[in-house]
Amino acid sequence: MTYIAKPKVHAPTLTKNEIGLTRRDYEGTVSTLCAGCGHDSITAAIIQAFWELSIPPYKVAKLSGIGCSSKTPTYFLREAHGFNSVHGRMPALMSGANAANGDITYIGVSGDGDSLSIGFGQFGHAIRRNVNALYVLENNGVYGLTKGQFSAAADKGSTSKKGEANTMEPIDGCLMALTLGATFVARSFSGDKAQLVPILKAGLAHKGLAFVDVISPCVTFNDHEGSTKSYAYTREHNVEIVHADFVPPAEEITADYASGTLQNVMMHDGSWVRLRKFAQEYDATNRDTAYAYIRARQREGEVLTGLLYISPDSQDMHTQMGTVETPLVQLPYESLCPGNAELQKLQAKFR
């Protein structure tokens, strides 16, 4: 066998969440990615977020396309159904699965090649449908498995390992998502777990598609000087503009920051996202000004991170379609088939 199952170690001293599970219960197999890969930090953050939210792992479906990022669903939530599909097509699978059963939590993991090149169309249309899912784009600006070609997310002027400079403009997943009408847009950095975990939690609580672009340096092909997706570059240029804190439904909201820098957004399930702003003029609930602000700061060489946009009135795919409350997979056949008497009645029309 060419995969390694992580042994389940009984450790009674580990902290348990509300449903009695430890972080270990949210792990998967051992990662086969390069040591130091940003994706493994994101996996750890995902494990943390699901554990903190006490979501039963088997009530989760984790889907991905193809690429290094798309391998990662194996590394978390071993008791969840996983689907490592075809390149760039995770959003279609996720849309179909969600249409069939909207009662489970969906997480889609993708990469910059997967979402911004081969699957660009699917990425855009999943956003338009507003599928209720957490969509994580693990963004390293490079094709790893094929050894170092630029991806569509590579910045103009960023150099490859061999020293060649990228000549084309990048596709920015967050800006795209904003123009396409995404109802939740965030950017984070794999090296900043304190920022990423609450964003993932808020994304999971969001009813609709929560898009999270996570800059995740590729240690093997894109961590050199001259790359704008390296650890060093990202650390230096990333500016947190809005910090999201996730407040579970039962807890009280207490304002302890200077007025004007704090914004509370209530989520569909009664939880709250508390946004701490680091720029007075930034409004994470205004799509147009958020877009303009991000663009302006980008021109100054900054990479803005945090929960960049959240729509307070998100209508997810099922709401738009007007489907019944019961997941379609649970409807008994008897309630779906009109029967022979109706068939005979109907055929009067075909005469």
Binding site: M1, R78, F83, A92, G96, A100, N101, F350
Partner: protein, 598 residues
């Protein structure tokens, strides 16, 4: 010479003028007179202005295939006048709008010209440009009613059923019918020697197209998710499904017990179907050849990861865009082995809208039982034309075959679950659905996997799974609908084998050939992989004519590949120009071979 209830006529109009409702009215009226009737709509890939034809064949013997012998032509489109005149059979009739003089250059001495001043009559009787255009069509229905003895009471009843709530519309339609009728009665010596007489042959039948019946089949099969990208000629399948769901699948407060996803392209449409099936729904997508080409990659995933999917391929002419509004059987090979790598898929081949209804249900059962994509291959002729077929029946004791899906209770009992293990020795593993039980979790992947569901790059582990899937697919050969078989009128060494929509043409040709003393045993395959009986049929005959609608003899190639019979004994009979096949095509193909041999 008088010919009753056995003739064909053709109506030539520019498209977008509303002639389809007039043609539908004619079809229904003849049908309600108890006389078997078939309509073929020959239309352009265009919204307004290009030529369109509607062909109506009346056959007391119940023959449904297209005929190439037109007794009467309604030449109402100046653009195609010349061609239309040429198509009338010797000693036939041609009806034209005599508001304008007829060009002498296209006159034929062996054709009787019937002038009806359609434009003049409707311009006098109706106001408004649109109404005049529409009523001109209804007026030719009136003229035909007189010429062909269509029961005017039946027409009146049909108008009442259609416009019962809009009396003004009913009145103007009736007025237009009367205008045409009176004119033909008074000036044209109606009726013609070819005409109708009431029969009692349609009371257990309906007029329906295959896309509508397939959509209905999906409702009865319990499908809850449909994903699609609109493409001619499959569009009306999803529209049919939606219409029936709106009628049968809504709760009192208007909530839907179905989901229709209009995808961004066919790649996404099949992805949604696979996602929905993976989550446990019965899901399908209707498409045509170009869509199948795009779906290839995902089809391979569903085959290898063993996920059910139902794909309706309403075939049109290829390759590439081809002729989108013309019919063909050009995707037989493509669907049988779709996607890269070693694959082989279950295919069902309905021959008419009734089978299109039944096979829609069969497709879901087979897809779930064998955990694999199933293609239902109809074509534009079956999908979009109105066919007279026996009434649809439904067995209320039917329950879906969901295949081997483990429930929460079963998983609770199980020691451990492995997705791709051949527990029962039939090549079909057990599957689980997301969100049901922690023990049911597994990782679905299109990459190499072993029988336990783990990732592998090991040659033996990889081959083990691939060989099991091959066995599984081969087992499906005995589960697909058995071929339709009819023995020849006498013992014979000749066979005739066909597929799908060629059935009508073949059945008619066999009757006509029998009259000439040529007997052939007949088989129509209805599913793929072929069952043992197909090879036996080929072995049992010295020569087998293989009738199909594509250039390269794809069915013949499939038979050769799959059964190993010597190709030389399979004599190919093909018509593939885009119109439905006629008995004459089959007869010509058979006779050419027999005469050469003699």
């Amino acid at each position: 010479m008088t010919r009753i209830n056995d003739f064909a006529f053709k109506i030539a109009t520019p498209n977008g003028t509303g002639s389809s409702s007039a043609n539908g009215l004619l079809m229904q009226a003849i049908f309600r007179m108890g006389v078997p009737v078939t309509g073929k709509n020959v239309f352009p890939s265009n919204i307004q202005g290009l030529p369109t034809w509607y062909e109506i064949r009346v056959s007391k013997d119940g023959y449904t295939a297209r005929t190439q012998q037109f007794d009467l032509m309604l030449a109402l489109n100046a653009q195609t006048y010349q061609k239309d005149v040429a198509e009338v059979r010797t000693n036939g009739w041609l009806l034209y709008d005599s508001t304008w003089p007829l060009e002498g250059s296209v006159a034929r001495a062996d054709v009787t010209y019937l002038g009806v001043p359609l434009s003049e009559m409707v311009n006098g009787a109706f106001k408004g440009v649109r109404e005049r255009i529409l009523m001109k069509n209804i007026a030719y229905v009136g003229a035909l009613a007189a010429l062909l003895e269509i029961d005017t009471d039946v027409i009146r009843t049909l108008l009442k059923e259609k416009f019962g709530r809009k009396p003004a519309l009913m009145d103007s339609n009736q007025k237009a019918v009367d205008l045409g009728y009176e004119y033909a009665k008074t000036h044209l010596g109606a009726p013609l020697p070819i005409h109708l007489a009431p029969l009692d042959l349609t009371k257990d039948a309906i007029l329906i197209d295959g896309n509508t019946s397939s959509g209905l089949g999906c409702v009865y099969a319990g499908a809850t998710v449909g994903a699609w990208y609109p493409i001619t000629p499959s569009t009306s399948l999803m529209e049919g499904f939606k219409g029936f769901c709106d009628k049968f699948r809504k709760t009192e407060d208007g909530k839907k017990k179905f989901a229709i996803l209009q995808a961004e392209d066919e790649l996404a449409a099949i992805g949604m179907v696979i996602g929905a099936s993976w989550a446990g729904a019965r899901a399908f997508t209707p498409t045509s050849g170009p869509g199948i080409s795009l779906m290839g990659e995902f089809v391979g995933l569903a085959y290898y990861a063993e996920i059910p999917a139902v794909i309706f391929d309403v075939q049109r002419t290829g390759p590439s865009t081809g002729m989108p509004t013309r019919t063909q059987q050009g995707d037989l090979m493509l669907c049988a082995y779709a996607s890269h790598g070693d694959t082989r898929h279950i295919c069902l081949y309905p021959s008419d809208p009734r089978e299109a209804f039944e096979f829609a249900v069969t497709a879901f059962d087979l897809a779930e039982r064998f955990q694999t994509p199933v293609f239902v291959l109809s074509d534009l002729d079956i999908g979009m034309n109105d066919w007279m077929v026996p009434k649809l029946e439904w067995d209320d004791s039917y329950r879906p075959d969901r295949g081997k899906v483990l429930s929460a209770a079963e998983l609770e009992q199980a020691k451990q679950f492995y997705r791709y293990l051949d527990v029962d020795g039939d090549g079909i593993p057990y599957r689980t659905l997301p969100g049901v039980h922690p023990k049911g979790a597994f990782f679905t992947r299109g990459s190499g996997h072993n029988k336990l569901g783990g990732y592998t790059e090991d040659d033996v582990e990889y081959a083990d799974v691939m060989e099991r899937i091959s066995r599984k697919t081969q087992n499906a050969a005995q589960a697909v609908p058995a071929p339709f078989v009819r023995k020849g009128s006498k013992a014979t060494t000749l066979g005739l084998l066909t597929v799908g929509g060629c059935h009508g043409a073949c059945m008619e040709a066999l009757d006509l050939l029998a009259k000439d003393g040529i007997a052939l045993d007949y088989m129509r395959v209805r599913g793929f992989p072929f069952g043992d009986e197909v090879k036996k049929f080929l072995d049992a005959h010295e020569t087998v004519f293989v009738v199909e609608q594509n250039r390269d003899g794809q069915l013949r190639s499939l038979l050769t590949l799959e059964t190993g019979v010597p190709p030389a004994k399979l004599s190919s009979v093909r018509y593939w120009g885009g119109f439905p096949m006629s008995a004459q095509h089959v007869i010509a193909g058979v006779k050419a071979k027999i005469e050469v041999a003699a």
